[in-house]
């Protein structure tokens, strides 16, 4: 039971940790693909929520 609970906790922490790391090292498309000649609009949080 301890191993099972530890595995669940580790999975959740690892998933959150990876999301934080990727959020830090990756750029949003609106930043990555904006050049001096073209601006890409911020897509917003269009997957979840009212936007």
């Amino acid at each position: 039971m301890k191993s099972f609970l530890a595995a669940l906790a580790f999975a959740a922490i690892a998933a959150f940790g990876v999301s934080s790391v990727l959020d830090t090292i990756q750029q949003s498309s609106s930043v990555a693909y904006t050049t001096s000649g073209a601006r890409v609009g911020d897509p917003g949080k269009n997957l979840i929520g009212p936007n």
């Binding site: 530890a6 998933a15 990876v18």
Partner: protein, 336 residues
């Protein structure tokens, strides 16, 4: 004057023909570009396999220049028609097979009954690794199936709005739990590979149906029998295919073009369906299907009689090393 006009007309026609024949794309057209011909279907059908209509873009995302790619229609048809059939047959077929097996064979019991003496089958780190991979797999499988079947099976139950919110969170869980799943897979491979190399003994085990088809017959096996080795390699090979294809879906600019991305989504989806079906069999035999089997991953300790019936050679090895109780429940002392 009429003579010079006709010369000019002839010259223009010759130059026009020269442009037509000098341009290979124009020469490949199989339809006449009249007003009637300029319809989307005819234009798309004129494109060959791998062709696509591209535009000119001013942002550094080359994939955004693809306007129309006809292979995308085949990919969409596959996702909408063939994939649900593959998934339905594999998963429902496995559930039906397991139900029939349970009805015909019944639960596989410990022939000699429980002895009350325990033997350690899996250490805590092994159980941790198993549950890390398994718990991630279950969420990945359910959230993945939601992509293929959710709109048909789940949305009518909860409504479009609740389904959309749930699917959004399921997608996030799918994306990020993929990483601990891949970690668990790698650790599993490292800690269990040495016990999962196929050998002659496995052939004997398979020839006797693993002893699960008839009561009282138990072919000898080491730590893992041929069936368990099969599951191990299905998990490793299936897991690697899911990880590689999933990596391309997580980072869609890695494949480099839309066609490659579509290829990896097909691999990901088909392997997933087969993988889920195989894991259903694993879950069945490790819980409902075999008495005493769940303890191996539950507490880590299994009954000595269970171990002797299913892994006789492994028990003998453990007893020789002094790591397992003998028949009377005392630990044997290894010979000096």
């Amino acid at each position: 004057m009429p003579s010079s006009l006709s010369h000019i007309r002839a010259l223009c026609a010759a130059i026009g023909l020269l442009f037509v024949f000098a341009h290979p794309a124009a020469a490949q057209l199989t339809f006449k570009p009249t007003a009637e011909a300029v319809q989307e279907d005819k234009l798309l059908n004129a494109l060959k396999e791998g062709d696509k209509i591209t535009g000119r873009i001013s942002i550094p995302d080359t994939m955004a220049s693809s306007l129309i790619q006809p292979a995308g229609r085949d990919w969409r048809d596959f996702q909408r028609s063939k994939l649900p059939i593959i998934g339905g047959v594999a998963i429902l077929g496995m559930i039906v097979l397991l139900a029939i097996f349970l009805m015909v064979r019944g639960r596989i019991r410990v022939d000699h009954g429980f002895s009350g003496t325990k033997i350690l089958r899996f250490a805590s780190f092994e159980r941790f690794t198993h549950w890390l991979t398994a718990s991630c797999f279950i969420v990945l499988a359910l959230s993945g199936l939601n992509i293929s079947f959710g709109r048909v099976l789940v949305m009518p139950l909860f409504g479009a709005e609740a389904f959309a919110t749930m699917s959004g969170w399921a997608k996030i869980a799918h994306d990020y739990l993929a990483f601990p799943f891949m970690l668990g897979l790698a650790i599993m491979f490292l800690i269990w590979i040495k016990d999962n190399i196929p050998g002659k003994l496995d052939w004997q085990w398979l020839k006797q149906g693993g002893g699960i088809l008839a009561n009282g017959k138990h072919p000898p096996a080491k730590r893992f029998n041929a069936g368990q080795k099969g599951i191990f390699w299905i998990v490793i090979i299936g897991g690697v295919l899911m990880s590689v294809s999933g990596w391309y879906l997580l980072f869609p600019y890695l494949p480099g073009n839309v066609t490659a991305l579509q290829f990896w989504t097909v691999i990901h989806a088909v392997v997933a369906m087969l993988f889920i079906a195989a894991m259903l069999a694993h879950i069945y035999i490790g819980s409902v299907g075999m008495e005493g089997a769940f303890d191996a991953m539950g507490t880590g300790e299994v009954d000595l009689n269970w171990a002797k019936e299913h892994h006789a050679l492994w028990v003998a090895e453990e007893q020789a090393k002094g790591r397992a109780p003998s028949k009377d429940g005392t630990h044997a002392v290894p010979a000096e």
